[in-house]
Amino acid sequence: MAEYFVGKVDEFPPGTSRLVPEAGKFGVGVFNIGGEYYAIANYCPHQGAPLCVGHITGTTAAGAHNDVLWQRDGEILRCPWHSWEFDIKTGKTVFEPTERIRTYAVRVRGDDIILDTARSALEQAA
């Protein structure tokens, strides 16, 4: 089965996340970032940690005077084991060389949020 019911739209506000444990091999995390839904495998490509236990956070960038700027708040997931930073929207590490978590499609059907593990987020965007 490729489709999973994640929850009702009004019960899943921006800034929150859910784990769908029965989806995929390790479970799939679904995230609401600013009203858009994103899904990633609960498996860190580094050493296999349950990624979705990690903190949802932001990341930094260097300012014009090498001051440290805070960016992309709520879009970054940090692995609970070694703090690797992942972009929830793309599944890619923030740093180079890039490593990637598997992503999945999420759609809204009526009031229901549906995870589709047969397609990646990239395929959905296309």
């Binding site: 990341t59 930094t60 960038a61 260097a62 090498n66 440290v68 700027l69 070694h82 703090s83 690797w84 930073e85 590490t93 923030v94 740093f95 180079e96 060389p97």
Partner: protein
């Protein structure tokens, strides 16, 4: 003296130490205001080798090794077939009075220019010594010599008040990058206001000093990378002239690993630490490094992928002197030309 055109250059010795014949000879070159000041001599006095600091080849009756230009030319170019040599005079360590430190550098550079770099077909190239603790003095010294084609790099001590990524030094590195001059880092000679040569204080014996003190290079390298100095100055090149390439990769593995976890604290360092090495970092070879068994050495250097960062350095007249034919025997045949001269020619734009 034989001359050579630059297209003939095959072997470049990137580390040769010239010295004053007598410690006090530097006084003739000091600015007037500093001629009565005291400072350490050229010999490192905490740690010295049982049989002396210098290689057997370099000892001559009544003469400090490395102080007689004719003798050094004969040893390097005549007996060993080197084509060009980069001179790296050591200074006297950090001075509490940083302007005195700069005065010593000014005198050393003037002496080097007058005594070692003059003459038709001269096969020596020089280093501009600067005191990193005196930024204004260092910048003035760089401006004094940067346009002189005989000077091919800036040289600074391994000993420093801060790791070299500290912004206190950024103006010096910026000047170096703007002039296209690599910065050579080398453990200095006489001890001024010096620091312990290891991270855990003063070892008792010379064996510990000789084998471990140069590892301090890594703290400077890690600092330069993580402070984003190479991101700001992509043209900047550092040469660690004491060596260290043999231990570099395991240290870089650690830095890369920690960077992936903690890089958000240093966003000015935009790329994986090890990815800066190819463009920005070189190491002189050292006889004291690598496996003792030569067959294993080729394998080790191959595994470490460090060939491309290596510049042959003889370290004449120090006891750790390594002639080019000895280094060549330690390298896989396909890598000899680059390490013995090709990399240095490219780095110093010698051809």
């Amino acid at each position: 003296m034989s001359t050579s055109t630059e297209t003939d250059v095959r072997v470049v010795d990137a580390v040769v130490y010239p010295s004053f014949a007598q410690d006090d000879d530097i006084v003739d070159y000091l600015p007037e205001a500093y001629r009565l000041r005291g400072f350490p001599g050229q010999t490192r006095y905490y740690y010295s080798r049982y049989e002396g600091e210098f290689h057997d080849d370099a000892y001559r009756e009544g003469e400090r090794p490395g102080s007689n230009r004719d003798r050094v030319e004969e040893a390097i170019f005549g007996e060993r077939g080197v084509d060009l040599a980069i001179l790296l005079p050591l200074t006297r360590g950090l001075m509490a009075d940083r302007r005195l430190g700069s005065a010593i550098c000014t005198a050393t550079n003037a002496w080097l220019s007058e005594q070692w770099l003059d003459g038709e077909g001269c096969r020596f190239r020089g280093s501009i010594r600067v005191d990193t603790d005196d930024v204004e003095g260092a910048l003035a010294e760089i401006e004094r010599w940067a346009q002189d084609p005989r000077m091919v790099q800036i040289a600074v001590p391994l000993e420093a008040l801060h790791p070299y990524g500290h912004p206190a030094y950024l103006a010096i590195w910026t000047a170096a990058a703007n002039h296209g001059l690599p910065v050579a880092v080398h453990s200095d000679g006489g001890a001024g206001v010096d620091f312990a040569p290891t991270g855990t204080g003063y070892p008792r014996h010379y064996v510990e000093f000789a084998s471990l003190q140069s590892l301090r290079f890594f703290y400077h390298l890690a600092s330069l990378i993580t402070e984003g100095v190479f991101d700001r100055l992509p043209e900047l090149r550092f040469v660690f002239a004491d060596g260290g390439a043999d231990i570099l990769p395991p240290l870089m593995w650690r830095l890369d690993s920690a960077w992936r976890q903690s890089r958000s604290q240093s966003p000015e360092n935009r790329h994986l630490p090890s990815s800066y090495l190819a463009a920005n970092v070189r190491f002189a070879t050292s006889r004291l490094e690598g496996p003792l068994e030569h067959g294993l050495e080729k394998e080790w250097t191959q595994t470490m992928e460090s060939y491309d960062y290596l510049l042959y350095g003889s370290h004449y007249p120090h006891w750790s002197f390594e002639p080019p034919e000895h280094r060549a025997a330690r390298l896989a045949p396909g890598k000899r030309d680059g390490v013995l001269g090709g990399h240095a020619k490219q780095l110093y734009r010698l051809s």
